[in-house]
Symmetry: C2
Subunit: 356 residues, 2 copies
DNA sequence: CGGCACATTTAAAACGTTATAAGTTACCTC
DNA sequence: GAGGTAACTTATAACGTTTTAAATGTGCCG
């Protein structure tokens, strides 16, 4: 059983163990590198993290060997020792299912996390609308180093919880807490303002906007932008109260259809999403109304879907992959201990003034 | 510095350490439970895993205390010791961005993984179409206990690699390897067959089907189903070669539009996705052709989007959340060491024969 | 009552990493 | 050449869990 290669066998155990470790096929550890180079495990660890106290020659050698044998630090061991998980948790909301909102964001996040030790783990929310329980669990049990979530409310309990615990996070969407916190948000005020102005510029005299549920912060932003444009132009307007952007799409279509059949129907639509724009088109067409003739739409575009199918829908772009990438970048900075300055990003809509 | 509470200080260290451990606020470990109950750490560990050698009384007591103090095993420590990661990795393909394909699947997976120690981590693929490098990395470095991916090819190199390494995985989609492997697939043959039959039953005499890229297995299934229905009915048909379902949607629309303006245009469309159905409608309407009048569509429905917007599009449903849930269930069984029997699920389309 | 099986509990080691503190040289100064 | 100080390197312990092997006690048999 004992290795027959070794002739002197008494105090030789360390050396014998060495050869063994190098020859054994198991995945390489610090120990493997230590045995190959002749340095101690500690030195190897230090060298790999480029500690200044380790001589440059040693560092080079260790890095070289590490690369050669394809060494990769064991995440579990690192996590156990340091307490850092190297995990970013994304709270997935069922509402994000549609049109790949979640997927786009995650692709962006993943891009930002590339070439870092961080992994992206998905924590879905089945229960209620605010995943505060899930967050509490993550914070209390140290399941992640940072959190990403969206659809914020002005006094979002999730944000409150995280601020209280000093836990790193970045939201997609703003809040109204006095304590600032990192976020990446789309300038929905400008979007709604600009969309509505374009409708008016095209001669539309009764714009409508379908808003997200009122409790969410960006609903207020959209409303504000819409109202500003409407008041500046002095036109009439309409805001449905029965439906919102989270409604099933057939409800939206039916509402629009019903409304189109009544007097004083809106003749311009600022749509916060591509699907609601499609629903609007279909609802209007029930009454023979044609896009670009009797009415216009300016919609927010977050995928390649809408604009390409219906070229007559004017769109303003929101780049969710870029959003995710920025959120990732900021979260990494925040985890690294950066301060909360320059960690609030408001992405401006790509405004291309219409040729009219 | 030393705890002043303890009067006898010589061989008392263990006891002192105990009180310390209980009183300290840090997150509870096995040690905490051991100190409270008076059992050894080993016993506690055993009791929590319900080892039969531990007396029932002890097990009860330990579980009770664990619940009281909210003990949760440290994932890193478990992983380090056992080698199991408790991680399921999902390979995210950029093509899954549209219409929440990926998100739906992940919601289903998460549902299956609920109340298990498994976490869902997202591994996106930026580079090429086959994430074989990502997989090799995961397998070689033990980054996960199981893998989930989709869009399989008949001799998918990813499947080959995983089979060779005996690594647990479940695919969304079948292959043609002789070695069976776990999969969950939608019966795309039946879908295409049934969709085409419905078109013909409605009196359409020249059905068209837009297929996914030929290299993917389910493309062949769709083709086969389509051809079977077409041949049974003895009608003409058309299969575009210039475009596929992965094409940008405006290309699809333009193709349909162009085709609609030529002689012998198709009058029925079997659409493998909702977006292509919308593109078809738009393309056809360029030439004044109306859905339900000059032509019909039967589409695969994977979200709440299409059918609800365009009620005149007939649909056959594919439940991606259910798919994900089944994949999760099967993967867990596979990881637990189950054999490859009963691990191949073919989900039948919900066929509601049209009233016509 | 020695011994043996059984039931239950425990001590010790290990997984791979990092942090702390302690070595080991070589070189310089007076 | 004693003493000190850089410049590197290293031994040891620890993170929290599971595993292996050993220990403890209890009852039964001859």
């Amino acid at each position: 059983m004992c290795s027959p290669r070794v002739s002197i066998s008494l105090p030789d155990t360390p050396k014998s163990a060495r050869s063994e470790s190098v020859l054994k096929g198991g995945k390489p550890t610090l120990r493997t590198i230590a045995d190959i180079t002749g340095f101690a495990v500690t030195t190897v660890s230090r060298a790999l993290s480029n500690a200044p106290q380790i001589s440059l020659d040693t560092r080079k050698r260790v890095h070289q060997v590490a690369a050669e044998i394809g060494y990769l630090p064991d995440r579990a061991a690192q996590r156990l020792k340091t307490g850092r998980t190297n995990v970013i948790s994304v709270l997935l909301d069922p509402h994000e299912e549609i049109l790949g909102y979640g997927t786009s964001l995650m692709l962006g996040l993943a891009k930002a996390l590339k070439n870092t030790p961080y992994h992206l783990i998905v924590t879905p929310n089945f229960i209620n609308d605010s995943n505060v329980d899930a967050i509490r669990h993550i914070v209390r049990n140290g399941m992640a180093d940072g959190l990403i979530f969206s659809r914020t409310e002005p006094f979002d309990p999730r944000v409150r919880l995280l601020l209280e615990n000093g836990f790193p996070f970045v939201t997609h969407g703003r809040t109204e807490f006095t304590t600032p916190h990192p976020y990446v948000d789309y300038d929905n005020f400008s979007f709604a303002y600009e969309a509505t102005r374009r409708l008016i510029a095209r001669g539309r005299r009764k714009p409508m906007i379908i808003l997200p549920p009122k409790r969410m912060t960006f609903s207020q932003h959209l409303l504000h932008g819409f109202m500003t444009a409407v008041r500046e132009a002095g036109v009439t307007y309409e805001i449905p109260t029965e439906i919102d952007l989270d409604c099933p799409v057939d409800q939206i279509r039916d509402y629009i259809s019903r409304r189109a059949g009544q007097p004083d129907a809106p003749d311009g639509f600022a749509c916060g999403g591509e699907v609601s724009a499609l629903a609007t088109i279909t609802g209007m067409s029930d009454h023979g109304l044609t896009l670009g003739v009797e009415y216009d739409i300016v919609a927010k575009q977050t995928s390649k879907l809408l604009v390409n199918i219906q070229p007559r829908v004017e769109t303003i772009y929101e780049d969710l992959t870029d959003t995710g990438e920025q959120m990732g970048r900021i979260l990494l900075a925040r985890i690294a201990g950066g301060e909360t300055t320059d960690m609030q990003v408001l992405l401006k809509p790509q405004i291309n003034f219409p040729a009219v």
